[in-house]
């Protein structure tokens, strides 16, 4: 968890504007979606649910690996695998 080589939080080391997976955000963090990795079913479903480039998302809760994410006025429960697929730039 606390390994020094792996920045756990955007404010730790990453400069703003660098895309990171949504899985790295903490509760309360807001971010802008940059892209969805991969071109499969899941990416397609995520786009249809509103995760398109430019949209603002917010992490409502993070009970362990999964998270509750708010997007376009809807809350979604997402597993780690799903969170890893969404690349975002965090907002300060």
């Amino acid at each position: 968890m606390g390994h020094p080589c792996i920045p756990l939080h955007p404010t730790d080391q990453l400069a703003q504007g660098v895309a990171i997976p949504l899985a790295r955000l903490r509760p309360g963090d807001e971010a802008t979606v940059v892209r969805i990795a991969g071109g499969t079913r899941l990416a397609r479903r995520l786009s249809a649910l509103g995760f398109t480039p430019g949209v603002t998302v917010r992490v409502v809760a993070r009970p362990g690996a999964p998270a509750i994410v708010s997007v376009r006025g809807c809350r979604l429960g997402m597993g780690q695998q799903v969170l890893e697929r969404i690349w975002v730039t965090p907002e300060q």
Binding site: L42, L49, G50, P63, I68, G73, G79, Q81, V82
Partner: protein, 697 residues
């Protein structure tokens, strides 16, 4: 297709106060489909329109609820189909396939898109997708109070102008807006509602791509051209398969378009983002209600508190459902008992004794077995309805996913398994809340090892006879074994028959809402009726057959055919510690597990000193009793469950697997327990005595 029509002869609702044309009813009903995201109040609109005039079944060959209702609008018969709640018209989930096939193949005369104003942007996505089908469309805008409470204003006319189709604001609680919706249905029935004019246009580049694909599409496809072109650009496998023989030009146009699905989604949301603010003003300040709802979610899904709250709530709800079902169940049992007593008194010599037994034990007993299931199933569907409509189901699924996900069991499936603790039948039926065929079958196959309450009654009785209060430890051990079996079976199934990866967790947590009692009761009523229809044709006759086997030729179970089968199977039972009477009791327990007790009573006799308990203690050794309760807890699920597994899965192979698997597991466990107990016997007896002494002191 006949399956899309409600049974004939159902009285039709006539709602007064509508313009009638000639008063003459046209013979062909107008088909109207209800489409919308999950949890937007679609069922509420459906129930308002149809009342109790609805029919619930399955879509042909699919484990998806198929709800059809009929009503009479302006002298025209209307057939209303409630399509499953979906997010887009893609062919990936079972629900989407069902909705899409219906819209494409049946071409309803009117499409009512139910849109949740509180989640307008995301809801409009499906509307835009559906508009391209070219079916006359009306948007029913629900949940208007929620954005209004947040100080946002909703402009239905503005939305209608943007989309180019009528928008009817509705209130699910009061039914306001219903008349306006009926007016629109009447207009569609008169042929006065035109297909959508196509006012929704995507970006220039996208439109050019759509046009180029549209031009080269094979004309004989029989699909709406624009919709098919967009789906082809999205890389929709089913549409591409249809285009398989299409022209070189079509394939070239598609090949040039990369990541189509995401670009289409992007373009649609761009359109929504530029138009939605005209219809729904942005919130001026952070909404306190929204904040509160988010805090509730934070607590409900908390890392440590979440699982505890979820398990307590679900356990409480299941217990509550049981308590709710008990009085009507007792009343039914009393009524059938009285009926049996009456029949027994009326059928006297010269009628032969077997006629009396056939009527009393066979026919009345069989119908009673089925009827006594109904309150339990009804109560569990009330419970599921409340969980689903309040929005809590998704939270519980989210939390359980974290608990059981590591075993390859989805959270939704976990809720079904908890319901199975009450009764396996609704647990199998609850498997339809999963989103794909794989998860459904998987969820159904995991249910049988869950010890239901009927099994607990028998297990509890037998263990209390042999172990007194410390029998609770045996019961606890059985529940632990049950949990182990579920986890083990999940692992086994994931490695063998279900090697396909389960879907990663992605569930919407819909807004919390008070369930409307009428919706919940309607849902429970129709699901129970579905069970009753299926059960009466299969379970009741089977009960009569088993009665015959347990009566003839001797006139009593120990001298009957079933008794002989038991004696014949005795050598098989011996290594498991089961004597022939136990085997007979287990055979009769297949009908309904609690029936095992009455068979035991007949076979071992209740007349001696100490009644049945004394007779059992005298005739059965402790290791045998342990083996019996173990075998009983896990052997083949009861007839009602087996029938339901077959009806839901439509797969004889899966049903046979469920039965054979549980028999094999039960036999193996009983074997281990029997020999283990014999081997550990002297030691265990001291331990049990010590435990009993400790409990007593």
């Amino acid at each position: 297709m006949s399956c899309h029509t409600a049974p004939a002869g159902r009285p039709l609702v006539t709602r007064p106060g509508h313009p009638t044309r000639d008063g003459a009813s046209e013979s062909r009903p107008l088909r109207v489909a209800l489409l919308g995201n999950p949890n937007v109040g679609k069922s509420t609109v459906f129930n308002w329109l149809t009342g109790m005039h609805q029919h619930v079944g399955n879509w042909p060959g699919k484990t998806v609820d198929h709800r059809v209702g009929r009503l009479d609008v302006a002298g025209r018969c209307v057939e209303l189909v409630d399509l499953p709640g979906i997010y887009e018209l893609s062919p990936y989930t079972l629900e989407e396939c069902v909705a899409r096939e219906y819209l494409l193949d049946e071409r309803p005369g009117l499409l009512i898109c139910v849109v949740d104003a509180a989640r307008l942007e995301r809801n409009l996505y499906l509307v835009i997708d559906a508009l391209d089908l070219g079916i006359p469309t009306v948007v029913a805008l629900t949940m208007l109070n929620e954005p209004r409470d947040d100080g946002r204003s909703v402009d239905a006319a503005g939305l209608a102008a943007c989309l180019g189709v009528p928008v009817v604001p509705m209130d699910g609680r009061t039914g306001s807006g219903l008349e306006a919706l009926l007016e629109r249905i009447a207009a569609a029935a008169r042929g006065e509602l035109a297909p959508p004019p196509g006012t929704v246009r995507l970006g220039t580049e996208m439109e050019a791509a759509i046009r180029s694909v549209e031009e080269v599409l094979a004309p004989g496809l029989g699909l709406p051209a624009r919709w098919a072109a967009i789906k082809a650009l999205e890389g929709d496998p089913r549409i591409l398969a249809l285009l398989g023989g299409g022209s070189q030009a079509a394939r070239a146009a598609l090949a040039a378009f990369r990541e189509g699905a995401m670009r289409v989604a992007d373009e649609r949301y761009r359109w929504i983002q530029s138009h939605a603010p005209r219809c729904l003003t942005a919130a001026r300040a952070a909404s306190p209600r929204r904040w509160a709802a988010e805090q509730v979610d934070v607590i409900l899904t908390h890392r440590y508190a979440g699982p505890m709250v979820t398990l307590l709530l679900l356990a409480g709800a299941i217990w509550g459902a049981f308590r709710m079902a008990a009085p009507p169940r007792d009343a039914l049992a009393w009524a059938f008992g009285a009926l049996a007593g009456l029949a027994g008194a009326v059928i006297r010599p010269p009628w032969p004794e077997w006629v009396r037994s056939l009527v009393v034990d066979g026919v009345i007993g069989g119908v009673a077995t089925v009827a006594e299931f109904v309150p339990i199933i009804g109560a569990f569907f009330v419970l599921l309805g409340v969980l689903e409509d309040s929005g809590y189901f998704a939270r519980a699924a989210f939390v359980l996913d974290r608990l059981v996900g590591r075993f390859g069991i989805q959270g939704r499936c976990g809720i079904g398994l908890l319901v199975g603790l009450g009764c396996n039948v609704p647990a199998v039926m609850a498997a339809r809340t999963a989103h794909d065929a794989r998860s459904r079958l998987f969820a159904m196959l995991l249910v049988p090892p869950v010890i239901c309450s009927a099994r607990l009654v028998v297990v509890g009785y037998v263990t209390s006879v042999f172990f007194g209060p410390s029998g609770a430890w045996v019961v606890a051990g059985l529940y632990l074994t049950s949990a182990g079996l579920v986890v083990g079976m999940a692992a086994l199934l994931n490695r063998t028959a279900f090697r396909q990866e389960p879907e990663p967790m992605l569930i919407e947590l819909p807004p919390f809402r008070w369930p409307r009692p009428k919706d919940v009761l309607t849902y429970a009523w129709h699901e129970s009726a579905l069970f009753l229809r299926r059960a009466l044709v299969i379970i009741a006759p089977m009960t009569v057959a088993v009665w015959a086997a347990s009566y003839f030729p001797g006139g009593s179970i120990d001298t009957s055919l079933l008794g002989r089968v038991g004696q014949f199977l005795a050598p098989l039972g011996a290594p498991l510690g089961l004597d022939w009477r136990m085997i007979v009791a287990l055979l009769s327990g297949f009908l309904a597990k609690e029936g095992t007790l009455s068979a035991i009573a007949v076979l071992y006799g209740t007349t001696g000193a100490g009644g049945l308990a004394g007779a059992l203690q005298a005739a059965v050794e402790v290791p045998q009793a342990l083996a019996f309760v173990t075998f009983f807890a896990f052997y083949t699920p009861c007839l009602a469950t087996v029938v339901t597994i077959y009806q839901e899965s439509r797969s004889a192979r899966s049903t046979a697997f469920a039965v054979a698997n549980s028999l094999a597991v039960a036999a193996l466990l009983a074997f281990v327990v029997f020999h283990g107990a014999r081997w550990l016997g002297p030691w265990a007896r001291t331990a049990v005595a010590a435990a009993a002494g400790g409990a007593g002191g």
